[in-house]
Symmetry: C2
Subunit: 468 residues, 2 copies
């Protein structure tokens, strides 16, 4: 390894020099609409995987597209020396749909506005993936004694249903001593956050068919059952939409309450409800009490309705009794809720209240709780400080990353988080964006993290890094 002072001097020169390359690569990835939720985009998923492998190879990494029964995983690596420690960086290259009417530019056309990069997937999670890659290339070029692997998933947005298959297939090649996940969101631009926990998820579809065709509500109304009305009623029985409180018996039984220490840490994190509401465009929120709010998003479960389809949605009021309806719902779960047990509770509840409703579950993710102290946490803290000049808060994250649970269960190595996204970047929202400030700071942070890892991992003991 070069003298670290020399290396960081070089890094300061390289970062502006790679900006154009970074933007070109991000454009290439964003313009492939890798929407994993929609089967119509299966071809784009394949194109996205091919492009990602091509990018890895162009950066002198090895790359392989690992097939699974679902979407492939792109596996890349800089395998410098088997005796060095190895870190695997997890990102995902699939994206959310972009059907929101609020998009001001085409979501799958890369659009640059000064330092901002707009397009679906810029921040979740293509921008962070490329930031990590360019930082890794730099570290390898500057002889940081570390092997770096890349796990780029294409099913994150649908709950990583085949990720375990990938791990099994590449178990031997996955020689990493630790994992770094870069797919999380800061508290604000001025307050970096490093999560140590994720909520689990249980996405369900509730379907009710009461007829074979839509009917005239005058001719049949009164006798015909109304499936939209019945699903609305069922949802209202499931939870109190105003408070968010779930009314399904037993739902909260296994929720682990935050300790006082954790709650104190949440409150000291720098979380601001005003900033949060502004970033997410919330006009009002369920609570204005910050103590309630941090628990509501980080350590308590939720019940959400994402949409109810089946009736008429065009202009005006078409007076039909719909033949069928479907509600898309999900629950975010926290330790120690077991998604299987919760699913059983929901099925029982639905059966009891409306036995004609079918419940379809396409996957589930257990919650995750990791470490917020120790050598790895210290390294992340120092990396963020070095990259951005600010110390991060350790918090939990309200979202879910299915692959993290699988990595934890199958690899048994420390998993740390180093996310680069900001609330205003719009995860899953219209006008999603990323920015050069987070990318350039992110490259510094990643390089710093790599350097620290190379010094500390036990397997590195005895290996003397070459000094130039």
């Amino acid at each position: 390894m070069a003298q670290t002072t020399d290396m960081y001097a070089a890094l300061d020169q390289v970062i502006p020099a790679v900006r154009e390359e970074f933007e070109t690569l991000l454009c290439d990835l964003v313009q492939i609409p890798t929407v994993s939720m929609d089967p119509a985009h299966a071809g784009d998923i394949q194109r996205g995987a091919n492009k990602a492998a091509e990018i890895l190879r162009a950066c002198d990494a090895q790359a392989e597209i690992v097939e699974t029964p679902g979407n492939p995983v792109v596996f890349g690596q800089f395998m410098v020396n088997p005796a060095y420690p190895t870190v695997a960086i997890y990102n995902h290259l699939d994206v959310q749909p972009a059907n929101e009417p609020e998009w001001q530019h085409e979501p799958f056309v890369f659009h640059r506005e000064d330092d901002r990069y707009l397009g679906r997937g810029t921040t979740d999670d293509k921008g962070p993936a490329l930031t990590a890659l360019l930082a890794a290339r730099f570290a390898v070029q500057h002889d940081v004694p570390l092997n770096i692997q890349f796990i780029w998933e294409l099913e994150e947005e649908i709950g990583s249903p085949h990720f375990a298959h990938f791990i099994r297939r590449k178990r031997k090649a996955l020689t990493c001593d630790s994992v770094l996940v870069s797919d999380t969101v800061w508290l604000s631009r001025h307050q970096p956050a490093v999560p140590y926990g994720l909520r689990g998820m249980l996405p369900l579809q509730l379907r009710l068919q009461t007829g074979s065709k839509d009917c005239h509500s005058g001719l049949t109304g009164g006798v015909a059952r109304n499936p939209v009305g019945e699903l609305a009623s069922l949802i209202a029985r499931c939870y109190d939409a105003q408070t968010g409180r779930v009314k399904i018996k037993g739902f909260y039984d296994d929720v682990r309450r935050s300790s006082r220490a954790e709650l104190t840490q949440f409150l000291a994190s720098g979380f601001s409800l005003a900033t949060f509401k502004k970033a997410h465009g919330l006009r009002k929120s369920r609570t204005n009490d910050v103590r309630e709010a941090v628990q509501a998003i980080w350590s308590r479960p939720t019940f959400e309705v994402h949409g109810i389809s089946g009736g008429y949605q065009g202009p005006g009021v078409k007076t039909i009794v719909p033949a069928s309806a479907e509600a898309k719902i999900s629950m975010r779960l926290v330790p120690d809720q077991d998604p299987k047990r919760i699913l059983a509770l929901v099925r029982d509840f639905v059966k009891q209240h409306n036995p004609d409703v079918t419940v379809t579950c396409d996957g589930m993710l257990p919650p995750y709780l990791g470490e917020c102290s120790g050598a790895y946490a210290d390294a992340v803290r120092e990396a963020v400080r070095f990259g951005f000049g600010k110390l991060p808060s350790f918090t939990r994250e309200g979202g879910s990353i299915g692959a993290v649970v699988t990595l934890d269960q199958m690899l048994h190595v420390p998993i740390m988080f180093l996310g680069l996204s900001l609330p205003e970047h719009g995860y899953h929202a219209p006008n999603e964006n990323f920015d050069w400030s987070q990318a350039s700071g992110g490259m510094r942070a990643f390089v710093k993290y790599f350097e620290q890892l190379s010094q500390m991992t036990q397997r590195a003991a005895g290996v003397v890094a070459p000094s130039v």
Copy 2:
């Protein structure tokens, strides 16, 4: 007038002879998608009006397109002799949207299958309009001493908001002594029905905006309000979807209970719940008690949800908290419910339970209750018997025809109903159809009704019909 026996002998020959003409005209009208609910079809409405006027003129009637602040009304007439009595026949030429996925043929391409005519508007209400026109032309050609007017509306499916404007503009020309409405549905193919009452209607849109953009349900779930969930909860408070019972205080206050005599008449009407469920494709119904069912569809009010939009409706489960949601609902009202009072009740109820929800009302129709006895009712009864060989039941109709209320309030003449549609024709439903059996029987019934009218109207007193 020719000897009636000669005239009816001629009618038996003319009906098969005009079948091809009828089908050509119906094709012409069906292929213009006169969807009044969708502003995108404004041009089609105008084309529909032009085509209708052209058809009237081709049948030797006078025709005029009467503009209103909304869609025009086509006004036609055979004004044979001012001294003759005059009947006005009401139909509408606008149609429901046809967005249902179950359509087996293009809804706006006329499709003939043996005796069936498929396409949006075939039975509601273009087929009955043309049936009445061809019957009227025959009656005039055969010197029935009667003037016949045609009121063809193009806003029926949106509650006839400008129909009163038309009546005011043409008040002097509307010299009719009675009105015949042909836009209702039989109990079954074997049981004609003549309604004497219509339910009113109050269509509303409930809107709730809680944010400026859709949000990630992991990042914001727990703190962010969910507008789909809140609308579902509000709807569940408004009514019990399983029983249909409305829970808004005061909603039932003014409902006039059916008399025992009326209920007996309902039960003797030939209504069959099994036939009804089959015709409308209902898998289960709210009640299996026929006594409950006839009241539920004819003499009790309803609350329906037609659709809830705003969330994600594509494949899979997109885990967003939507920024806004909209529920399309309507209530069918019965005598003596006042739509204005009901609207005020709903507004108060919504304000009390969720003050952030806005209630938009784009129109309202009071309920209508006419006569089921007397000379006009006798004439309709005889006309149906003559046309179809079956005596009709006098019932109420669960649907609403806004123009009827306006005609009643502004013209003060008897209004009778002679509908030709069958439950299986699919009013407002996919694969809407009409058939030659109903059209040909309908022509006989109309001619018979015209002949009876020419004999009985008081204004006809002293006028001796020419006899050939």
